[in-house]
Symmetry: C2
Subunit: 286 residues, 2 copies
């Protein structure tokens, strides 16, 4: 197999390079990052990618490796370019630690502008018991090969094809939830799909933070068009994911007062529920 | 009607008095509070009540009145007695503001110990549009009079009767989810019930923060006994509740690695979904 076609490894991939952070000398808890234009939607940095950058800085800072629960508030729209992550440890316990982080970029005067504020508890997923007792079942959806990639979307479909992030992701949608791309949304408020990384890197807890916010929004399946800006996103990472693409099920039940919740479940190749998330977003006006 | 039997009003009730905060002179953003032993479970302060105290300080501090989404991380166990809430405004926008707060108590040396850290977005529920488009339905459960109050629980039932908070609440459980009180849990992981405040005060957005954490834990319905400490709780308040007790549906689907999620939906007397919440908790060992 040629080197160029070998799948990228966790720790040596586009996602890892583009979420890397460097400790700033003389400023404890402060990390410099470069937000990559490879993870933009139209011209804005994807929210899940931005969260992963903050989570990587927190992994450096906190004594535990994995985000067990992480909440992000999106304050202003992030752009490709330099950023700084300032972290703080709230409490460091034996099996779990609590921290917070803010991601800043710079305005035209060089002043810091806050993009994202994060509050989180980290632990060690490998130290948890193997006990599983669940009534949750994987989403009913076709296999990877029977789902549709973005290469088969019509050119005028919203988002698809117009955004850099699609080159970094391997997205395959359940055809039953892809009708919006040809003007026939189901109206249910559901999006299901497979998600891998385009360079073949397997998922880890950090890429799951990207995964919950990487599919097209449920608003499209409700027949709405336009931007669905996330106000707040909370992700629970429940298990280290097994190799291979994950299945993601997004659902929205309640659109009210111009706001909607979007719930995500992420399932791995071993049929384990590896992440659950909910976000509160502003509904598109369309 | 005698004065003593008139229902308490929002703003003049046990809940309002016990969550009140006083701005500390000369320290902007800092509020003193007194955590009341009336809201304890065994000897610990209830997590929803503690969150409501923080939310009241944030209401004083932020330019908008209502928590739209609020996340709490529980760091150490709070006790009745003095507390201080330190708030910070992250961003104040036109229709929404983002803030954070920490609740501290004092150790035996008088040093501050952090109990709770909160990250939140506030807005004005009355300023949202009346638009509702929902596929969510109220829980199927008996009416208030057909549900069972704590006065009918056996003396040795876990929690019930042993905790001060039960005197402040009017809890009526769906008999189908109350079997654990007589040693016959359903195993499903569901708790449903009606919740009012004992003095007749109607609900408002702050008391909904209490409501999502006030019923017995779903772990009891799974047949587990003991403490289910909340690590993190996120509440979305979607609508100002109509008068009267609310219906609450709690569900747990995934207990894994010693952790479980507990989802709450809160419905008002007008059949509107007024709050959604999810918490990550440590499962009891029992």
């Amino acid at each position: 197999m040629a080197q160029s076609t070998a799948p990228a490894a966790i720790g040596d991939s586009e996602f890892d390079r583009d979420t890397s952070v460097r400790a700033r000398a003389g400023e404890p808890g402060t990390y410099d990052a470069e937000l990559s234009e490879g993870w933009t939607i139209v011209s804005a940095i994807n929210g899940g990618y931005l969260l992963a950058v903050a989570a990587r800085a927190l992994r450096e800072e906190l004594p535990h490796p994995d985000p067990l629960t992480i909440t992000a508030h999106y304050l202003t729209s992030a752009q490709p370019g330099p950023a700084v992550v300032r972290t703080q440890t709230a409490r460091a316990g034996r099996s779990m630690s609590t921290g917070q982080a803010s991601v800043f970029q710079y305005d035209e005067h060089g002043d810091e502008v806050e993009r994202l504020r994060v509050l989180t508890a980290y632990g060690d997923l490998d130290a948890l018991t193997d006990e599983v007792r669940t009534s949750a079942r994987p989403p009913e959806m076709p296999g990877y090969d029977a789902c549709v990639g973005t290469e088969s979307a019509p050119e005028n479909a919203p988002f698809v094809g117009s955004t850099a992030i699609m080159d970094r992701l391997d997205v395959r949608l359940d055809p039953a939830t892809a009708g919006w791309a040809i003007g026939a949304p189901s109206g249910v408020g559901a999006i299901r799909g497979w998600l891998g990384l385009a360079d073949g890197r397997d998922h880890d807890p950090l890429s799951l933070l990207l995964a919950v916010d990487a599919l097209p929004p449920t608003a499209f399946d409700l027949g709405l068009k336009g931007w669905t800006p996330t106000l707040e996103l909370t992700v629970h990472v429940r298990c280290r994911p097994a190799p291979g693409p994950v299945r993601i099920s997004l659902t929205t039940r309640n659109l009210a007062g111009g706001l909607l919740e979007e719930d995500a479940e992420v399932w791995d190749s071993a049929d384990r529920l590896v992440a659950q998330s909910r976000q509160l977003a502003r509904a598109p006006r369309g």
